[in-house]
């Protein structure tokens, strides 16, 4: 019978190691992309929520403007107002959940209070 030369165990281990480094690199890229898509989705939701809140504040009489906060699902929306005399500066902060921490996004606008 012909003598068969296989691979040694060390050779196989090295090959597996090199292959797994490459594959792990690909997997980590995919994981990062998934994470970023999720983040983008949360920021979009956060800005939509801030926009809604600003519209709500805009529809109120200036005399009724007050700071406050509301919970919208997993998001926390809080707002403050600064009196500018004939206007009011509104600052809306949306806190969106992250895996380990929370992220705050701030949105500001000015509402006319001319009577």
């Amino acid at each position: 019978m012909m003598k068969q030369d296989g691979m040694t165990l060390v050779e196989v281990l090295v090959a597996v190691l090199i292959l797994s480094v490459g594959v792990l690199g690909l997997v980590s890229v995919a994981a990062a992309v998934t994470l970023l898509i999720g983040q983008g989705q949360r920021y979009t939701t956060a800005s939509a929520l801030a926009n809604q809140r600003i519209e709500m504040l805009r529809s109120q009489d200036c005399a009724n403007l007050a700071e406050g906060s509301a919970v919208e699902g997993k998001y926390q929306v809080s707002w403050t107002n600064t009196d500018l005399g004939n206007g009011s500066r509104i600052l809306v902060t949306v806190t969106s959940p992250q895996r380990h921490t929370a992220r705050n996004d701030s949105f500001t606008t000015t509402i006319s209070c001319v009577q």
Partner: protein, 286 residues
């Protein structure tokens, strides 16, 4: 040298192994294909919804629900709203003539979507009354009996001399309408959720015909939406829900898009996508 081939058992084991591998690759391919189709469907529906969310507020933002002479919102419901949609803006170039019910507009300085269209538009005329206060300002409503072009504005610039009809309120008429007063042309528009012959629901719009005095046919704009795909909520200045058109200060809009069966959608499915926004009426009296 002796050459040995594969035994039947070895061959069968090999075929089974190859079969398992090929089968799982096929399954992977199938689920990727399904995922791709679902995502493409989501992108399509989402794009539709985003259009709706930018389309509806464009008109609604411009409304004045709290005028002394009545709200720009004609009727409101959870899945439809009709209102005076502002289409153009002109200015008087000389004080209104109350005796002849005529106003003269500067023809070369109009703003808006399109010029006045006598087949579709009515007019709102700003009545200043006492210049010392804002509390008595209001918008008179009128139809147009006739329009004549000319050069009657100061400096012989192009003008439109408009003879009004059906002024509301008729008394005190055009007194208190000053030189430079704004005049807005509006048509009556309704946004509604409309079902077509295939039982699909669409966001649709229709116009009120001036000559026919009825609502025209509903024109589908986008969809398909779910049977409750358009939800409107009306809020007053304190943020409370209101049913009175004159009290509306902001409108909450939620549109729900119907995913097709390919995307795993059915009328009540949680796969259906929705988008919500809220729009404050910018021209309300303050």
């Amino acid at each position: 040298m002796t050459r040995r081939g594969l035994s039947l058992v070895e061959l069968m084991v090999a075929i089974i192994l190859v079969g398992i591998v090929a089968g799982s690759i096929y399954q992977l391919l199938l689920s990727t294909e399904r995922g791709y189709r679902t995502q493409a469907e989501r992108v399509r529906v989402n794009g539709n919804l985003r259009n709706a969310i930018s389309l509806l507020p464009a008109d609604i933002r411009e409304l004045n629900a709290a005028d002394l002479l009545g709200s720009d919102i004609i009727s409101m419901d959870t899945s439809s709203v009709s209102y005076r949609a502002m289409r153009n803006l002109y200015f008087l170039c000389q004080p209104a003539n109350a005796a002849t019910a005529q106003i003269v507009l500067a023809e070369d300085a109009w703003f808006g979507l399109r010029p006045y269209d006598s087949a579709r538009d009515w007019l709102l005329i700003f009545q200043e009354n006492d210049p010392a206060t804002r509390q008595d300002n209001e918008w008179l409503r009128a139809d147009v009996a006739s329009i004549a072009t000319g050069n009657s504005c100061p400096g012989s610039t192009p003008s439109l001399t408009v003879t009004l009809a059906n002024l509301v309120p008729a008394n005190p008429g055009l007194s208190g309408v000053t030189d430079g007063a704004p005049v807005r042309g509006f048509e009556l528009v309704e946004f509604l959720l409309n079902q077509d012959a295939n039982q699909d629901w669409w966001l649709a719009t229709r116009q009120f015909g001036k000559s026919s005095s009825t609502w025209g046919p509903a024109q589908a704009i986008l969809g398909p939406l779910t049977p409750r795909g358009l939800q409107l909520k009306y809020f007053d200045g304190t943020g409370a829900v209101t049913a009175t058109p004159a009290n509306v200060a902001s409108i909450g809009i939620t549109v729900t898009g119907q995913m097709s069966a390919v995307g795993g959608g059915s009328p009540g499915s949680s796969n259906n996508l929705h988008l919500a926004t809220r729009v404050a009426l910018r021209n309300n009296r303050r």
